[in-house]
């Protein structure tokens, strides 16, 4: 179990040494990055397989809550496996002068793994900052004037978020005197007051910058339309999910009351409205997908705002669905980067890309057989199950947003398949290979829906179990998850 720290140590080590490796042998430098990612994936899978019940590991050998601890449960390890996998798919293989970009990508991989595993408030903040700085670098890596400006605005908004999150952490520390999430869970009564809630709001806003949360998402469209498509795919697909995951961990463990969840709901609904309507008005694909990802992230936040297993299940399902679909859609914009009108008749020139677009779009809308439908279904049934007027309003907003989403995505699909009136110079979207891989993942999820669903439910039950989290960290009687099902229900009552 301890070997999972390799997922952080190894990419950092290689990133530090990559300039030296490059100086001695260029070929070695080129293959090192993918090799490290493969090792990371392998190590995560091994631990994932060996894991029967959640485990907490103490870094530096200091037992929690005094030292920093990592919390290894199925959700964390699932993310730790997905991170190197997605990065391998989006790795810049063919570019020549990309040593620094590769270094930054490795650092991003290390930070992402750390964020997924960490069980300590300030440690989460540090890894989050590392992710931030790495993504500023990636956003500016294009070296266009506009990407510098976009990266700078991104940095400023992120910097504001940093200050807010730091203030929130300081407030929590003033109230409880601890940073360990599990101990915060034990002391959650001290956080159940306006001060504690405002601390959560500050952290939500601060970390929410990466999760494209409503008032702090001005950077999204700018960065995604100036950075390279790979970077956009990584930021929208991976980094935003990790930020959501960090927020959800804090929410589930330390804030076991409805007010903090309601906060998530409000920001989620605002994000849905703003994102989907902006996407509806967008005139080119990149910005359309950028805004639509704000809306999708709002839906994910909305899902996680439902307390208990139902919300966690819906949230994880939507998160994974978005994680597969959005990077694929962004890869599509690499060649189709002009206004939507110029896409007229593109289906004839590149039928595969157009077909894949239709597949992903239908799944994103939630057309029945596709995985996206089941994810949205879970969210809706979760909202209905809450049986409160606020959640019904959220449901109504979700319905309207789905209609809007369907309208603009189908508009694009129709444009793609309509007859072109001029000879367009559009070619095949260059990354259909990687995109097809995403499509295979999506379709295989469809085929294995039942086992996948029960597995995800298991994961959700485990990670929404606050008592289990606390017990794991303090290492009292680690027992298999299944026996705790009753305990979960008691805790949620």
């Amino acid at each position: 179990m301890n070997s999972i720290v390799l997922n952080i140590a190894l990419p950092l080590l290689v990133a530090f040494l990559l300039p030296l490796i490059h100086a001695s042998s260029r070929i070695a430098a080129r293959i090192t990055g993918p090799l490290v990612l493969m090792v990371m994936m392998w190590s995560a899978v091994i631990v994932f397989k060996a894991l029967e019940y959640p485990v907490s590991i103490a870094l530096g050998g200091f037992l929690p809550p005094v030292g920093v601890s990592f919390h290894l449960d199925q959700l964390a390890l699932l993310m730790a496996t997905i991170i190197p996998l997605l990065m391998l798919l989006l790795w810049p293989y063919q570019y020549e002068q990309n040593l620094r970009e590769q270094t930054v990508l490795l650092l991003l991989a290390a930070a992402s793994s750390g964020l997924a595993l960490s069980g300590d408030l300030f440690n989460i903040y540090v890894f989050y900052e590392l992710i931030s700085v790495a993504s500023f670098g990636l956003a500016a890596a294009n070296r266009q004037a506009s990407s510098f400006a976009a990266a700078f605005r991104y940095l400023l908004i992120s910097g504001l978020g940093t200050v807010l999150a730091l203030t929130g952490i300081a407030l929590i520390y003033t109230q409880t005197g601890t940073l360990n999430l599990a101990q915060l869970g034990l002391l959650s009564s001290r956080l159940d007051n306006p001060l504690g809630l405002s601390a959560f709001a500050l952290i939500l806003l601060g970390i929410g910058v990466k999760a494209e949360i409503f008032p702090l998402n001005g950077w999204v469209a700018e960065v995604y339309s100036t950075a390279s498509t790979r970077t956009s795919a990584l930021l929208a697909g991976l980094v935003s999910k990790l930020a959501v995951l960090a927020i959800v961990r804090i929410l589930v463990v330390a804030y076991d009351d409805s007010e903090a969840g309601l906060m998530l709901l409000v920001f989620g609904v605002l994000g849905i409205i703003w994102g989907e309507f902006s996407a509806w008005r967008a005139q080119d694909l990149k910005r359309m997908f950028a805004y639509s990802s704000i809306g999708q992230l709002g839906m994910i936040l909305l899902a996680f705002s439902i307390p208990g297993e139902a919300g966690m299940f819906a949230g994880i399902a939507m998160m994974l669905h978005h994680l597969v679909v959005k990077p694929a859609l962004f890869l599509l914009t690499e060649k189709w980067n002009h206004g939507t009108d110029s896409l007229r008749g593109a289906a004839r020139l590149s039928p595969l890309a157009a077909a894949l677009f239709v597949l992903f779009a239908l799944s994103l809308i939630g057309v029945p057989p596709l995985p996206g439908f089941w994810a949205k279904m879970l969210l809706m049934s979760g909202l209905v199950g809450m049986d409160t007027s606020v959640y019904y309003i959220a449901l109504a907003v979700l319905m309207i947003a789905t209609v809007v989403e369907a309208q603009y995505l189908i508009r694009i699909a129709v444009t793609l398949y309509s007859a072109s009136d001029r000879s367009s110079e559009l070619r095949l979207a260059s990354n259909t290979g990687v995109m097809s891989l995403f499509a295979v993942v999506l379709l295989s999820a469809l085929l294995t829906l039942t086992p996948l669903g029960s597995k995800l439910y298991h994961i959700a039950a485990e990670s929404s179990n606050r008592a289990l989290y606390i017990r794991t960290t303090f290492n009292v009687n680690p027992t298999p998850v299944l026996e705790h099902k009753n305990a979960t229900q008691e805790a949620s009552l």
């Binding site: 040494l17 030296l20 005094v66 540090v126 900052e129 500016a140 109230q175 405002s198």
Partner: protein, 237 residues
């Protein structure tokens, strides 16, 4: 829209701060992990400076993350300013006047700052200061001559060497503990006599690694921002 968002945002923020100010309980905040660390740090880590035992012992992973952030920032900065540091401002070297008095005083300062920085780093586990503070001073020591003496250029290869190996040393010390059956980043060796230079196990080694890393990182960063030509970048082409 933008103004509206800004207004909403600042309104919410003001409300939050009002709530915070209204709710603050005056008096002593609870101290849980702090108290536990104060009780145990001397026998668990053995550093006279308890902040150091937190920075490198109890929360060593945060420090690793932090040097990684600095490294990322330096890498991203060179990615942004990068290989054409000179092409935009070709005439800069001539613009710098030959300040001989300045130059000689800088030459005098260089060993002084170097010693000071190293002293602060090595005594990080005993007195206030440590790898970061000393590293910043080291960076200053290496950067001032660049600024004052015309024609001096920075050795980027050397910087890459130092920053690579010092960062790797930090992680390798941590991994040594892991592979010898302990936890990642667990302090190694005997504690020694508290308050002595050779005490606190592997903490001084870690702080030396941090100091060198920070120093190398920051001198590269400063040189980059000042627009001093980089051999490494040209070699990379």
């Amino acid at each position: 829209m933008r103004n509206l968002t800004a207004l909403l945002f600042s309104g919410g923020l003001a409300f939050l701060l009002m709530v915070i100010a209204w709710q603050f309980t005056l008096g002593d905040a609870p101290m849980l992990i702090g108290a536990a660390i104060l009780d145990n740090a001397v026998k668990e880590v053995g550093a006279a400076n308890l902040v150091t035992s937190v920075v490198l012992g109890y929360r060593g992973i945060d420090t690793l993350g932090e040097i990684a952030i600095l490294f990322t920032a330096a890498t991203a900065t060179s990615m942004v300013l990068g290989s054409f540091a000179m092409t935009d401002e070709a005439s800069e070297t001539e613009q710098r006047e030959d300040g001989s008095i300045l130059g000689s005083s800088v030459r005098l300062f260089f060993p002084l700052l170097l010693t000071l920085g190293l002293y602060i780093i090595v005594h990080g586990h005993l007195t206030p200061g440590g790898g970061f503070q000393g590293g910043v001073i080291l960076a200053g020591a290496f950067f001032l001559p660049l600024l004052a003496i015309p024609g001096r250029s920075i050795n980027h290869g050397g910087i890459a060497l130092v920053e690579g190996f010092s960062g790797a040393a930090f992680i390798l010390i941590g991994l040594t503990a892991l592979f010898s059956g302990q936890a990642f980043l667990q302090p190694l060796f005997e504690h020694g006599v508290i308050g002595h230079l050779f005490s606190a196990g592997s903490l001084p080694l870690l702080y030396i690694a941090v100091g060198l890393k920070v120093g190398a990182e920051l001198s590269g960063l400063l040189a980059n921002l000042a627009g001093i030509s980089s051999h490494a970048a040209e070699a990379e082409k």
